[in-house]
């Protein structure tokens, strides 16, 4: 199905208002992406191009740069999230669940939500069998955490025309590949609908640091500008803001404080909820019923 077969255009001010419990205005959720980069493939991102260009394989320097995030960077982020008592969502490749088991364990012990993020960090249009890739991801998470993941984020947010259908058939209840709104929305599939929860390509360290090459402080500034605007917009109807990080980027020593500062300032606001993706999902499904 093409996108407009799944969802029709809808202007946000013309929808029935969504209300959060206890007078809260908006929800913030933060997603930590943990990936495993296969040394035998082209690296998904690079920090250092080889002398005189080209893309020689294997690409050890960029593999190591990413691996740093899981050995060192993640543990720095964890302290920040612990100190602010925030449950993050771990978007994790199926293979990474075991490859980086100490990370999975830390997330499980804290009650973070595990979200499916592809079996490997490979474009969903290039995996050989999409259904199988999704099933293997689900199984890897279930085997470790004891629960099926309810949410899905495609690697690099990639989808085929069929991905939402396959996700519902595999038991997923929400997806966040569609960055088309500040509120959750329903997407039709060939069976039951699936909810899309607002993710972000804007307050996202891959886009900001690796593609747009901003200084680290811009993560903080943009997060706060984004927050203030969404907070203002949410006066009449609740909105959702996502903050996305990758341990190999925002977990670098010189960047971490800008993530911490943004979380600290937003955490101090009384009428803002920090929720996981499934909390947003459950709330939205209830809120929809009420307003209907």
């Amino acid at each position: 199905m093409k996108p407009l077969d799944r969802i029709s255009y809808s202007p946000i001010p013309q929808r029935p208002p969504l209300k959060l419990p206890n007078g809260a205005r908006m929800v913030v959720w933060t997603i930590v992406n943990v990936e495993e980069w296969d040394i035998d493939q082209t690296m998904p991102r690079t920090v250092l191009t080889p002398p005189a260009g080209g893309s020689p394989m294997p690409d050890v320097p960029n593999w190591a740069w990413h691996e740093y995030g899981n050995r060192v960077g993640f543990w720095r982020m964890l302290k920040v999230l612990d100190s602010l008592d925030i449950k993050a969502v771990l978007a994790i490749n199926g293979t990474a669940v075991r490859a980086y088991e100490p990370i999975s364990r830390a997330a499980l012990e804290r009650g973070w939500e595990f979200m499916g993020h592809g079996y490997t960090q490979k474009n969903m249009q290039k995996v050989e069998n999409e259904r199988e890739d999704i099933a293997k991801t689900t199984e890897a998470i279930r085997a470790f955490s004891g629960t099926n993941p309810r949410g899905w984020l495609g690697p690099g947010l990639t989808e085929s025309w069929e991905t939402p259908d396959l996700l519902v058939e595999a038991g997923y209840e929400y997806v966040c590949d569609w960055v088309l709104d500040d509120q959750p929305v329903l997407l039709k599939t060939r069976t039951r609908p699936i909810v899309n929860v607002p993710y972000t390509q804007e307050c996202n360290d891959v886009a900001m640091m690796l593609i747009q090459h901003h200084s680290a402080i811009e993560y903080y500034r943009r997060a706060m500008d984004q927050f203030e605007q969404i907070y203002a917009d949410a006066a009449g109807s609740a909105r959702v803001m996502a903050l996305v990080v990758h341990p190999y980027i925002m977990g670098a020593p010189h960047r971490l404080k800008y993530y911490r500062r943004a979380l600290e300032e937003i955490r101090a606001r009384k009428d803002v909820l920090f929720w996981t993706g499934e909390q947003i999902l459950d709330w939205y499904l209830e809120a929809r019923k009420e307003k209907a």
Partner: protein, 294 residues
Amino acid sequence: MAMIPRERVPYSAIVDRPKLKLPGNGRIIVWTIVNLEVWDIGKPMARQVLPAPTGQPLLPDVPNWTWHEFGMRVGFWRFHALYERLGMRPTLSINARVTVDYPRVAQACRDAGWEFMAHSWEQGPIHKEEDQRGMIFRTMDQLENFTGKRPVGWLGPGLTQTYDTPEHLAEAGVKYIGDWVYDEEPTEIRTEKGPLITLPYSVECNDIPMMIVQHHEAQYWTQKCIDAFDRLYMEGAERPRIMAIAIHPYISGQPFRIKYLEAVYEYMSRFAGVVHWNGEQILEWYLEARKEKA
């Protein structure tokens, strides 16, 4: 005998390891690496500041060759003066051919007592070497002849490696490498020719990714290095950290950039428990320190 990284070393979370100790309650080791290279005018240039009009790669690439050459003629001497003034002896990551093409520069580093870390024969990805093992031996031999001491460290050009590079390096007498930027502590990796130690080099506080790839403004150098230092210094109270600073004379030796490098050392000089060590010193410390914790 080629191995992928995972076969050389398992994943390890830094929080799960015994803590290393620095002498005298030291908190942070700063490891400065000056990179000196030879860009052969007969080949495509390693980096470009100015792509040719219409973007076609052209040979010879005189403008970009001279851009790099400026570093050897002028920029390097700014570094040299800085480290003389600070009484520091950084690590020199050096293409062995520099000792042939730029003996004046190589001698100045030797006379100043800098550590010579081997950095391939000349600048180009190691994947394209026809005889990689031969090139590595030739590089190590040339530097040994020049300084009287076989280098203990190695940094691949652009940090590049193939799956059998670590074997060749260990066989040629290399003890540590800077190619694996995957940790903040030294680690040991397996090769079929004996172990190698990895030291935490940096692709973050490194003027190539920052200035040439990401196009940051010059003053961001100071901010980024200070932000990294602050964090590592804080964490160093609990577990010593290593901070690498990697520079190139044609980039950070430019008149408009040098002050932002100087400002970093000025900032760090205000803190106690900071040591400036070269790669060999870090290696020796690590080999001892890990015995103590065991």
